[in-house]
Subunit: 168 residues, 2 copies
Amino acid sequence: MTDTQTRSQSLEKLRELVKDIDFCMLTTIDEDGDPHSRPMSSNGDIDPNGDLWFFTSASSHKVAEVARSAKVNVSFADPDNQRYVSVTGVAQLIRDREKIDELWRPEFKLWFPKGKDDPEVALLCVSLEKGEYWDSPSSTIGYALSFVSSLITGKQPDFGENKKVDLQ
Amino acid sequence: MTDTQTRSQSLEKLRELVKDIDFCMLTTIDEDGDPHSRPMSSNGDIDPNGDLWFFTSASSHKVAEVARSAKVNVSFADPDNQRYVSVTGVAQLIRDREKIDELWRPEFKLWFPKGKDDPEVALLCVSLEKGEYWDSPSSTIGYALSFVSSLITGKQPDFGENKKVDLQ
């Protein structure tokens, strides 16, 4: 039970940190094995299961990249508050019409002019495995409070690690 | 000469876009082949040669990652202005004291309390190969003007590609 609680607490913390950051950078591995990133709207949310949902065109380049190499990184930056979140997970293409209906918002017509019933409209679901964050209670990231938390193992956050975090 | 000019123009555009974004996310490939990112200060600059310089501890985890897999991605996010830049390049550890002296700023003591002469203080130089940006002249990224420019090939930016950009 303790592990479950810790996973749930870690997830809750990550959800809280990203809820006001609508756009994030999704990094996939390209055909040369190199990291490749682009901005994506996460709809401001990691869902309670630890999944991130992105609308995508089913024939987009990133879908082909994910089919080859499913592990992706998603990073959220809020430079005004010196708040950064990096999560790693497994991405898969989801073409479930019910889920598309549930998550669709009218403004997505900007990217999908034919609307949500266009068969090209699909979802990329990223099931989070690991998360890391840098959250600054003061105005400089130099005093960041941070931890690495494994959402899979439910490992206890280590609040003593703030000196070791990769800000150097 | 045309290629050189185009490379130089592309580079100038990228430099202009990131100059007010101090923190970026550096994505490396970890020991499992997965993308792994953390916030880094780029000192607000891509230099005129197309290199990004980061201070790092020589024994940090990211240095070990780069030694195994030198290709990295660096993304810059300015959500207030819906401006995003993603660049890919080759990273290498540089321990040149002269370059460290040139780039050192007193506030870096926050991360390196022993100061710039600490032998642990080193630089990670990322030589850019490709760049991509999403820059929004209006208030919504849906109207983004964007292009993919190859800094290596000096390929002409394609301003007609804004519909194809990976925002979907």
